[in-house]
């Protein structure tokens, strides 16, 4: 018998910056009732060395709220 409410918003954009380079960014905001809020993001890129071979990478942050039954 536990409950918790939270509100979140998420946005992501991806674009071909050049013929070879693709980039993306994402951000997420979340507000937990009686727990606090958090903003997390991710950036990622992909670079095509040839038509058939590409390298890619990403960086992100993360957040995990405790279970509501372990509140207080």
């Amino acid at each position: 018998m536990w409950g918790r409410s939270n509100i979140a918003a998420y946005a992501e954009a991806e674009a071909d910056l050049t013929d070879r380079l693709t980039g993306s960014v994402a951000v997420r905001y979340e507000d937990f009732e009686s727990f606090g809020d958090t903003t997390n993001y991710k950036v990622a890129g992909r670079f095509a060395l040839t038509d058939a071979f590409a390298i890619r990478g990403s960086f992100n942050t993360g957040f995990r709220a405790r279970r509501p039954d372990r509140k207080t």
Binding site: A52, F53, I55, G57, S58, T61, R66, D69, R70
Partner: protein, 132 residues
């Protein structure tokens, strides 16, 4: 949430339980409210398209998690004297000439409210400051 069960400790029946980190007893022993687990991650790799129907992808990823939430080990409170924890309002233990901290858990205010056999162990949740 408080949970108590009977377990064998060195061949002897004992009471063992878990109590929340903000239980007054846990606070007196160093507990506190839980915070979030937070992480930072990154990845790097490649994509190789051999044909339209066959490709190979290889990615390395690494995620570092801070403040992992985990159980502490068992903390034996059988021999703890409630008088050493003045912040605890533990009347049934203090009134008992041989009362121990374990007796506090018999108060409903501490989450149990029932009889105990033998000695008592308990665990509390806390912030752990490292982890992968």
């Amino acid at each position: 949430m408080t949970k108590v069960s009977t377990i064998l400790v060195n061949g002897e029946l004992s009471q063992s339980g878990q109590i929340p980190p903000t239980n007054p007893l846990a606070l007196a022993l160093g507990g506190g409210p839980l915070g979030p687990e937070e992480s930072v991650g990154y990845s790097a790799g490649f994509v190789w398209d051999f044909t339209d129907q066959l490709s190979l992808t290889v990615d390395y990823f690494n995620i570092n998690v801070d403040d992992r939430i985990a159980f502490t080990g068992s903390i034996d409170i059988t021999a703890e004297n409630p008088d050493d924890y003045p912040e605890l309002d533990c009347p049934n233990a203090k009134a008992n000439p041989v009362g121990t901290l374990a007796l506090c858990l018999q108060s409903s205010a501490y989450g149990c409210g029932g009889p105990f056999l033998g000695h008592l162990l308990y665990q509390r949740l806390r912030n752990d400051h490292s982890g992968r």
